[in-house]
């Protein structure tokens, strides 16, 4: 915690530490959410996201339930990626991009002045659309994040546990020292999931994690996700309706009504309702494949 406090973050110094997290750390140790303390959900209120003066997403409010999979769907360009990146303060990494509104993790405002995005990003992990392993060994890919975050446990054990959770262990256990680049696309994506799990986040955000993968790899990642929600809160962007219907408990439909408008959360409900009997016509058209 101390080193996190002194760490420099985007331009300014870290403010007061997050007390809640301190308590959790002391109570449950570093592996608290593997150890069974309650997983946190998120609450988003009136979130808008900008690129310079261009407003890409407007006025999104959404409750993300703990231990559930929340799927985000919608036509291309309606702001799903932009929105999901706002949930762990990755949006502001892009020059001139900013967000307005309120995002709560448990009862902590992640956009509060004294909240350190570096700390938030460890607690809310992210898997990207394109696999982006580091140009390091498979072992290092998983261990690096844990090490910089000051993990003091048995690293070998953590690497194995993370790779097992990501359903990759059996395929790579004999070549942990080889480069992560040498894996197939699907394996690389599972490696990225493993490295995200290794820092023991509370929420995992996934932006189309299976869009570039074959059906077998997709299946493996979906199986992984079903597992993950035992321990984590999962948010996933997907273009695959079957996938959203299969794996998610809640679904949010993003939509742009008129060209040039910012994207909105058009409808948000339990997945079952969204796919059988949604309230709005656009949602029904989209999930039944009539457009988009």
């Amino acid at each position: 915690m101390d080193s996190e406090k002194t760490r420099i973050r985007e331009g300014r110094r870290v403010g007061a530490p997050d007390n809640r997290y301190d308590v959790r750390q002391k109570a449950g140790g570093p592996s608290s959410n593997a150890g069974g303390s309650p997983v946190l959900g998120m609450k988003i209120e009136n979130l808008s996201a900008f690129y310079g003066s261009f407003k890409a997403v407007t006025d999104v409010s959404m409750d993300i339930q703990a231990n559930k999979v929340t799927a985000l769907i919608g036509p291309s360009g309606c702001g799903k990626s932009t929105y999901i990146r706002c949930l762990n303060r990755m949006h502001e990494v892009i020059p001139s991009a900013r967000a307005e509104g309120c995002v709560m993790l448990g009862d902590q405002d992640i956009y509060a002045k004294n909240t350190d995005p570096v700390n938030i990003r460890r607690r809310i992990g992210m898997v990207f659309q394109k696999p982006n392993p580091f140009s390091k060994s498979i072992y290092e890919n998983v261990a690096w994040g844990a090490r910089i975050n000051g993990y003091r446990g048995d690293m070998d054990e953590l690497v194995e546990r993370s790779l097992r959770q990501a359903a990759l262990w059996d395929e790579v256990k004999d070549r942990l020292k080889q480069s992560g680049y040498g894996l197939s696309g699907g394996q690389q994506q599972r490696l990225c999931i493993a490295r995200t799990l290794a820092v023991e986040p509370e929420v995992i955000l996934m932006d189309e994690p299976a869009s570039a993968l074959d059906p077998v790899s997709t299946q493996k990642i979906e199986d992984t996700m079903a597992d993950l929600k035992q321990r984590y809160t999962v948010v996933i962007v997907t273009h695959n309706m079957q996938q959203a219907a299969r794996i998610s408990d809640f679904t949010g439909f993003f939509y742009i009504e008129n060209m040039g408008d910012p994207g909105r959360l058009w409808e948000f409900d339990e997945t079952e309702k969204m796919f059988s009997n949604p309230d709005r016509r656009e949602t029904e058209d989209y999930v039944t494949g009539r457009f988009g």
Partner: protein, 312 residues
């Protein structure tokens, strides 16, 4: 998909049923292809042949002079009699310059590149700095010599020892700094954004991402730029003359504050002598040594680059 595959066999029959607006024969296009292949091959050859002739000429003149007294040539000081003249202080001076210049310019250059590429926000000031760095890379080296004379030799004379190796190396470091910065920035810029985002998403700070991922990935490119820049520095004559490298010297440099001469200056001093023994034999021999130093330094750097590439 399906449509085109059912139509295809019909088209490839006797008469094409397309619009018929494409030229059937590709013979002339292949002709052009071959013509340009020959042309670019000749361009390559021309450069290579000229270079080879130059090298052979120098080696033919220089090697006999070195073999004539292999030990003496490397251990003797310059002399007024061509048979006794040696290259010892100049060789040592150049090696000192090479090492000191690298010591100053590499950390500064890579540091500046990291700042400009990873930390600086994009505003008019950084853009101004950017444009000026590109311009600085094109400034004639003699200007750097004048700058070095003003700053390192005169102003900072009490610290640098005036006309010392240190002043020379600092001047050369300034000279090649822009090239190293540009090469390193280029290397950093070619790293996909996804690498940085992957790091941040795990809760890494900017420096942790730079240290663990960006620098190792950029290093091969940075080293390549540094090799080219240092090669240029080690062959420079003009700025060194301005900042006071000696043309005749009777002692070997003993440390950074010592007076010195360098290989290109030694060569220049020999070539300007009237006696043919100096003019041809010694000059060529000096050039051979200079090229050998360059070649060795480059091989070392390439070896280093390949090693970092394999590790990352």
């Amino acid at each position: 998909m399906n449509q085109s595959s059912t139509r295809a066999p019909r088209q490839s029959g006797s008469e094409p049923e397309g619009t018929g607006k494409f030229k059937e024969s590709v013979g002339t296009r292949h002709g052009y292809d071959r013509f340009f292949a020959v042309l670019v091959f000749l361009a390559t050859m021309l450069g290579l042949v000229v270079l080879a002739v130059l090298l052979v000429d120098v080696v033919v003149d220089g090697i006999p002079r070195i073999l004539q007294d292999p030990v003496g040539f490397f251990t003797n000081f310059p002399s007024s009699t061509p048979e006794n003249a040696g290259i010892y202080p100049a060789l040592l001076g150049s090696l000192w310059l090479l090492g000191l210049t690298a010591l100053f310019s590499v950390p500064l250059g890579i540091g500046a590149a990291v700042y400009l590429e990873e930390y600086a926000t994009d505003n008019w000031l950084t853009r101004l700095v950017e444009v000026n760095i590109s311009n600085l890379a094109g400034v004639p080296s003699i200007i750097y010599g004048l700058l070095g004379l003003g700053i390192f030799v005169n102003l900072l004379g009490p610290i640098t020892g005036g006309k010392s190796l240190l002043s020379g190396a600092l001047t050369l470091a300034l000279l090649i700094l822009p090239v190293i910065i540009i090469a390193t920035r280029e290397a950093l810029r070619s790293i996909p954004k996804a690498v940085r985002e992957g790091g941040y998403a795990l809760g890494a700070t900017r420096w942790e991402v730079i240290r663990a991922h960006l620098l190792p990935m950029a290093l091969p490119g940075a080293i390549t730029g540094t090799i080219l820049a240092l090669s240029r520095a080690i062959g420079e004559t003009a700025p060194l003359i301005v900042v006071g490298a000696a043309t005749y010297i009777s002692f070997a440099p003993s440390g950074p504050l010592s007076g010195y001469t360098a290989l290109p200056i030694q060569v220049y001093s020999w070539v300007s002598q009237a006696q043919a023994d100096f003019k041809i034999g010694l000059t060529a021999a000096g050039i051979v040594v200079l090229m050998a130093v360059l070649l060795l330094a480059n091989s070392a750097a390439i070896w280093l680059r390949n090693r970092t590439q394999r590790q990352s």
